[in-house]
C-alpha cells in the first residue's frame, strides 16, 4: 500500500513522465514516411511487372528483394487456388517444395472456405498450423496470411513470415493487405495472359484443320460423284452383259461340246457371269440404305470384297492370300458396312505396299478370339508387309482427315469411318505396325451370343 502510494506520487510528479516532443515525433514520422515510400515503391514495381510476361517465381523474387526493408520478413510465399487444389507456387528464399499441394485440413483452407478477406496473423506452433509451409525449416514465429481476392473470389494467398515474435503492427497488416491486392491483380493478369495465349494457339490449330478439312471435303465430294457415276455405269453395263451371256449360252447350246469354239464360249459365259457378279456387288455397295443388321458370315464378306478389289490389287503385283477359319460363327452386322470397312483396309494395305521392293503380299485371316474385356469375338485381320506407320502417326491414324497419302489419293476419312462402323457394332479396330516391316489391322466384332 505504501509502495503503491509512492509509485502513484512518482507517476504524478516524477522523472519518468515527460512532455512529448514534436521533433521526436517528427523524426518518427519521417522514418514512417521513408518506410511508406518503400512500400509504395514495391507496389508500384509490382504494377509495372504486370505488363511483362513474368513468371510468378520472378515476381515473388522481385518483391522479396525490398520487402524486408519495410516489414519484418524472412519468408515470402505465394499460394494459388487451382481448381480444387491449393498449391504453393513460389517462395523466397526458393524452396524445392514448389508445387506442393496444401492439405485439406490446413488452416489455409479454412480461410479460403470462409471467404474471409482480412489478413490473418498466425503464431507458429499453435497446433493448427501449417506443417505444410516451411515454418520449421525457417524457424518462423509469426505469419501473415493474406487471401488474394479478385471480384469476390479468393484466388490464392500471400504468406509473409518472420522469425521474430509478436512483431507485426496494424500498419504492417494494412500494407500486407495492399500488397496482396496488387499481387492478386498480377496473378490474375498472368492467368488471363496465359488463357489468351492458349486460346490463340487453339484458334490457329482449328483454323489450320478447317482449311485442310475444306480441301478434303472437296475431294470427298468429287469421290462421291465418281462413285455415283460408277454405280450408274455398272447399272448400264448390266443389260449388255445379260445380252452377252445370253447369246453366248444360246450359241453354247447349239454347239457340240467337242467343237473347238465350245471352250471359248464357256470362258465368255464364265467371265460374263463374273462381270455380272462384280456389277451386282458394286451396286449393293453403292446403294444408300439404312443399315440393316443380319447374321453375317465374315468369310462371306471377305469373299465378296475380294471379288470387287482382288483384281486391282493383283494388278499391282501384290499377292493376296486368305486364311479363313472354317465354321466361323456369324456376327450380327450390316454386311454392306462391313464390306466398306474391309475394302478400306485392303485398299490401305495396297497403298502401303506401293514402292516396296520386296515381294509384296496381303494376308487376310478370319478367326475367333477374345477381346480385352474377355468377350468372344470374330475377327478379320488384314496384314501387309508394306512401309508401316511411323510411331508419331500411330495415335492419329483414326483421326478424321488424317492422311499420309498425297492429296489426289486419300481423304483421311477411311479409317475414321471404319472405326465408327466397328464401334457401332460394339467392336473395334486394332492396329499394329512396325515401320519398314508392315502393318496389321484387325476388325474385331463381338459374337452374337455375347451381345445382349
Amino acid at each position: 500500500m505504501i509502495d503503491d502510494k509512492a509509485r502513484l506520487i512518482e507517476n504524478l510528479t516524477g522523472v519518468r513522465s515527460s512532455k512529448l516532443n514534436y521533433y521526436v515525433e517528427l523524426k518518427k514520422r519521417n522514418r514512417e514516411i521513408v518506410i511508406q515510400n518503400r512500400r509504395l515503391e514495391i507496389i508500384h514495381q509490382l504494377s509495372r511487372d504486370i505488363n511483362i510476361d513474368m513468371s510468378l517465381e520472378m515476381i515473388v523474387q522481385r518483391v522479396y528483394e525490398n520487402l524486408p526493408l519495410v516489414i519484418p520478413c524472412d519468408f515470402l510465399g505465394l499460394i494459388t487456388l487451382e481448381g480444387s487444389e491449393l498449391r504453393l507456387v513460389a517462395t523466397q528464399p526458393p524452396l524445392p517444395c514448389n508445387g506442393l499441394v496444401v492439405p485439406r485440413n490446413s488452416v489455409l483452407w479454412e480461410i479460403i472456405r470462409k471467404q474471409q478477406e482480412q489478413v490473418y496473423l498466425c503464431i507458429a506452433g499453435d497446433g493448427k498450423l501449417l506443417e505444410e509451409l516451411p515454418v520449421r525449416q525457417f524457424e518462423l514465429n509469426c505469419l501473415i496470411l493474406d487471401p488474394l481476392k479478385v471480384k469476390q473470389n479468393i484466388i490464392g494467398m500471400l504468406v509473409i513470415g518472420t522469425r521474430e515474435k509478436n512483431i507485426y503492427s496494424q500498419n504492417d497488416l494494412t500494407f500486407a493487405r495492399q500488397l496482396a491486392d496488387q499481387l492478386a491483380i498480377c496473378v490474375q493478369n498472368r492467368r488471363l495472359y496465359e488463357e489468351v495465349v492458349q486460346a490463340k494457339r487453339e484458334w490457329e490449330e482449328a483454323f489450320r484443320a478447317r482449311v485442310q478439312m475444306q480441301a478434303q471435303l472437296v475431294q470427298s465430294a468429287k469421290l462421291a460423284a465418281i462413285g455415283e457415276m460408277a454405280a450408274g455405269v455398272a447399272h448400264e453395263l448390266n443389260s449388255p452383259m445379260t445380252v452377252i451371256i445370253g447369246n453366248a449360252q444360246m450359241l453354247q447350246r447349239e454347239l457340240v461340246p467337242e467343237h473347238p469354239a465350245s471352250q471359248l464360249l464357256k470362258d465368255i459365259v464364265a467371265c460374263g457371269l463374273r462381270c455380272k457378279k462384280i456389277i451386282q456387288n458394286l451396286l449393293t455397295f453403292a446403294r444408300q440404305e439404312p443399315p440393316a443388321v443380319a447374321p453375317t458370315d465374315l468369310n462371306e464378306v471377305v469373299e465378296r470384297v475380294l471379288s470387287l478389289v482382288k483384281y486391282q490389287i493383283n494388278r499391282n503385283g501384290i499377292n493376296v492370300c486368305t486364311d479363313l477359319a472354317p465354321d466361323l460363327p456369324r456376327v450380327a452386322a450390316n454386311g454392306q458396312q462391313l464390306d466398306q470397312v474391309l475394302i478400306n483396309l485392303l485398299l490401305n494395305a495396297r497403298d502401303a505396299l506401293e514402292g516396296v521392293e520386296r515381294e509384296r503380299y496381303i494376308h487376310i485371316r478370319t478367326g475367333v478370339r477374345r477381346d480385352e474385356n474377355g468377350r468372344r469375338c470374330a475377327a478379320v485381320t488384314v496384314q501387309d508387309n508394306g512401309q508401316g506407320i511411323s510411331p508419331e502417326n500411330m495415335s492419329r491414324v483414326f483421326d478424321p482427315f488424317f492422311t499420309t497419302k498425297e492429296a489426289s489419293r486419300g481423304t483421311g476419312l477411311g479409317l475414321s469411318v471404319s472405326l465408327g462402323i466397328a464401334r457401332a457394332h460394339g467392336g473395334t479396330i486394332e492396329v499394329e505396325s512396325r515401320p519398314g516391316e508392315g502393318s496389321t489391322f484387325t476388325l474385331v466384332l463381338p459374337l452374337e451370343e455375347d451381345r445382349s
Binding site: T13, V15, N21
Partner: protein, 390 residues
C-alpha cells in the same frame, strides 16, 4: 523523502501589457492558423479582440470559438475538436479563466491523439505531442496556464475527470495583470482563494520539493497581502500584478507538487452541484487544514508566518492554528461563507461524494492518510444541509 524531483514549467511571459506578445509567440511556435478558445465573459471584455488584433498583425489566421461554460463539460470538448479539425487549425490559443484553458488542453489532446476525452482520465495516458498551445489567463487563480492538469466534467457520470500529463503544460503562458481589472469583486475573491488553496495544498503535499515550496510560500505571502486590496479596487494595478504572480507561482507549485484533499473534495462538489470552484475550495480549505494539521504542524506554522501572522513566542502548535485562523479571516473579509449551502443532500449522496473523492488523483499527495470515513466527516462539516430547499 524523494531523492530526485522534477520541475516542469512553460515559457512564461509576465508583465503589464504582455498580451501584446500573443502574435509573436504564436509565430515562434510555428502556428499558421490558431483556434482561439474563450468564454462569453472574456469576449465581452474585448480581451479576445485585442489578442486577435495581435494575431492579425503577425499575419496569422484564426478561428474563434467561445461556447465554453464554467466547469467545462465533455460535450463541449467534442464540439471544440470538431471545430478545430473542420477549420484546419494548427495551434490553439486559450484566452480566459481555468475553463477555456482546460477545454483548450482537452481539444489539443483529442486533436492529435483521437478518441474521447474519457480515454485520457488519469496519469500519463497521452501518447502523442499536442498542437502548440498558448494560454492567456484572465483570472488570477486557476493556475491552469502553467499546470500539467486539465479538469473536465464527465456529464454522464457527473464526475470531474482529472487528466494529468506533462504534455498538458502549455508551450507559452502570457500573463498580463492588466486583464484582471475587468473581473468583479466576487470572482476576484473566489479565484484568489483558489490560488491560496493551491499554494497551501502544494506546500504541505507529500510531493513537495524545495522548488515548489519556494513558489508556494511566496504565493501565500502575496495572496495574504494583496488579495484584499485587489478585491477592493479594480484598478489597483500593483495588487493585480501581485495576484497574477501569486496565481502563477501557486500554479507552478501545485503542477509539480500536486494538491490534496481540498481539491479532491471540491472536484466532486463542483461536478455534482456546478458550484464555483474557487469558492468551494475557499470553504473546504480550513476544514481540511484542521484535519491535516497533525501531519505537518511545522509547515502550517510557516504558512501562518507567510500569511503575516505574528507567531513570535508561540508554540509550533499554536502557530499552526494561526494559519487556519488567518485563512478563515481572509475568507470572511471577502464575504465567502463558511459553509456550503445546498438543498436536502441525502446521506447516500454524501457517501457517494466521499467515495469519488477517494478516487481523485489529488488525494494521493494529501499529507495525512485519508479514509472514506474521514472524507464523509469533512463533507458533513462543510455542508450546511437542509436549510435551503431546491
Amino acid at each position: 523523502m524523494r531523492m530526485i524531483s522534477k520541475f516542469v514549467a512553460p515559457e512564461i511571459i509576465f508583465g503589464l501589457g504582455a498580451l501584446s506578445q500573443v502574435g509573436e509567440s504564436a509565430l515562434r511556435l510555428g502556428a499558421t492558423k490558431l483556434f482561439v478558445i474563450s468564454d462569453p465573459g472574456v469576449v465581452a471584455n474585448q480581451w479576445v479582440d485585442r489578442a486577435i488584433a495581435r494575431l492579425k498583425e503577425a499575419g496569422l489566421s484564426f478561428e474563434i470559438w467561445f461556447e465554453v461554460t464554467s466547469n467545462p463539460k465533455d460535450y463541449e470538448v467534442i464540439e471544440g475538436v470538431k471545430r478545430y479539425q473542420d477549420t484546419g487549425c494548427d495551434a490553439i490559443l486559450a484566452v480566459g479563466g481555468g475553463s477555456p484553458i482546460d477545454v483548450a488542453k482537452a481539444v489539443a489532446i483529442l486533436a492529435t491523439n483521437g478518441g474521447v476525452i474519457q480515454d485520457y482520465e488519469g496519469v500519463n495516458k497521452i501518447t502523442r505531442p499536442l498542437p502548440p498551445l498558448l494560454v492567456v489567463p484572465t483570472t488570477a487563480g486557476s493556475g491552469s496556464e502553467v499546470t500539467q492538469f486539465a479538469i473536465i466534467v464527465d456529464t454522464r457520470r457527473k464526475v470531474k475527470m482529472t487528466i494529468i500529463s506533462k504534455s498538458l503544460v502549455p508551450d507559452i503562458a502570457i500573463i498580463d495583470p492588466v486583464v484582471l481589472q475587468t473581473k468583479d469583486a466576487r470572482l476576484t475573491a473566489a479565484t484568489g482563494l483558489d490560488a491560496l488553496s493551491h499554494a497551501i495544498e502544494s506546500f504541505v503535499s507529500l510531493a513537495a520539493t524545495p522548488l515548489t515550496d519556494v513558489n508556494a510560500l511566496n504565493a501565500i505571502r502575496l495572496v495574504a497581502r494583496y488579495l484584499r486590496p485587489s478585491v477592493a479596487c479594480r484598478s489597483n494595478l500593483e495588487a493585480k500584478s501581485a495576484m497574477a504572480m501569486a496565481a502563477l507561482q501557486a500554479g507552478l507549485a501545485f503542477s509539480n507538487a500536486i494538491l490534496g484533499a481540498t481539491h479532491a473534495m471540491a472536484h466532486q462538489l463542483d461536478a455534482q452541484l456546478d458550484l464555483h470552484h474557487g469558492e468551494t475550495n475557499a470553504i473546504l480549505l480550513p476544514y481540511v487544514m484542521e484535519f491535516n494539521m497533525i501531519a505537518c504542524v511545522e509547515k502550517f506554522a510557516r504558512i501562518a508566518e507567510a500569511m503575516g501572522e505574528n507567531i513570535a513566542g508561540l508554540s509550533t502548535w499554536e502557530a499552526a492554528e494561526r494559519a487556519i485562523q488567518a485563512v478563515r479571516r481572509l475568507a470572511r473579509d471577502l464575504d465567502i461563507p463558511d459553509k456550503i449551502t445546498v438543498g436536502n443532500l441525502s446521506e447516500e449522496r454524501i457517501n457517494n461524494l466521499a467515495q469519488n473523492a477517494l478516487k481523485d488523483a489529488c488525494i494521493i499527495t494529501n499529507p495525512r492518510d485519508v479514509t472514506e470515513r474521514d472524507l464523509h466527516n469533512l463533507f458533513a462539516l462543510a455542508l450546511k444541509r437542509g436549510i435551503q430547499v431546491d
